[in-house]
Symmetry: C2
Subunit: 209 residues, 2 copies
């Protein structure tokens, strides 16, 4: 943040760093297969400005994805400090859905080979999610047949909601997340049908392309 005030070429370069990352997020969120040139156009810069920062499209994608994963982790950590276990889980899901982290991570999977650090972060993310779910279970508010892996699936559901207007998209996602949470909270009904999702079942995408 401190370099935003930098003047001249240096300053513009620093500013471009974030402009490009934002543009890339927007563009690839809308269309994961978008060309690099679309990112440049959106950012209002030339293609060189991109290639000066990232050696290839794959690296940019990887960076974007990893950023999303880190956001996931930081939101989970934030919720770990929330005393009300149910509010912690619900708030976490709400913020991750709001940040649209899942769309990126999921739709970009397979377009690059993940780094070791990402693998470690993914494991940590999973642990944190498991913790949130476990606490919610202890509190008794979460239906007994819910599992950690439901978190990812629910995020997937919400990410699928998309209309043209981003604001409406956000509102609608909140709506269906609320619906899903209502389902997750109701403990007196019958168990959910079929075997629950298994760990790693959703990771088929992660093979290097």
């Amino acid at each position: 943040m401190s370099e935003t005030a930098l003047p001249g070429r240096r300053g513009q370069a620093a500013r471009n760093d974030v402009v490009i990352l934002d543009a890339a997020r927007d563009v690839f969120l809308l269309d994961p297969k978008a060309p690099i040139s679309a990112v440049a156009e959106r950012a209002g810069v030339g293609i060189s400005a991109l290639y000066r920062r990232y050696p290839s499209k794959e690296f940019l994608l990887c960076r974007l994805c990893h950023d999303g994963l880190r956001r996931f982790i930081s939101e989970a950590e934030a919720s770990a400090g929330e005393p009300d276990a149910w509010a912690a889980l619900a708030g976490f899901l709400g913020r991750v859905v709001e940040a649209d982290v899942h769309s990126l991570t999921v739709h970009l999977a397979g377009t690059f080979t993940p780094t070791d650090e990402m693998g470690a972060d993914a494991r940590r993310a999973n642990e944190l999610a498991a913790g949130l779910v476990a606490r919610a279970h202890e509190s008794g508010r979460l239906r007994r047949d819910a599992v950690t892996e439901d978190v990812g699936m629910i995020l997937e559901c919400c990410a699928a909601i998309r209309v043209e207007d981003p604001v409406r998209t956000s509102e609608l996602r909140r709506r269906y997340l609320a619906l899903l949470l209502e389902g997750l909270a109701s403990g007196d009904g019958p168990d959910l049908p079929g075997p629950p999702p298994r760990p790693g079942e959703m990771n088929g995408r992660w093979r290097p392309s």
Copy 2:
């Protein structure tokens, strides 16, 4: 069906009709942007066999999409005959999710210009869905702030669930549909947040490409 027994070239041609359609469904369900050649390969036929039947990829896509829409309608009509209003809605959703009709219709939208007949069918589909929702409302089992447009959104959510194994995909979709239905059924909680989806809000995709 009667021509399946036909021998020789005629018979093979007739059999190819359905083989090709099935292959196309499978292929485009997995990847909406798959090349035509992938369909031919999957069907075990040459590319000519495809082009003899459909003048272009766009026509094939349109046919596939229209078939899905018709399936949607026929399932809705089937549920219209079910006396229990809640079971009618739930059963309808279950069958449409099972048939994976929504993925096709949704992910193929925009890749072809819809025909007039499809427009009419789409309108009819919407009426039928509205009828199912209205009846469920009258029965009192459906939460009061649910609207017809929720149907499409819920289908979208379920279609987003996808793992490598098709059988597991089906099972998992059933699971999350059940979760959503649980949410739809619980009437004592607070209203869902944000304005509900509006008619036509999801139709942004339908502009010709």
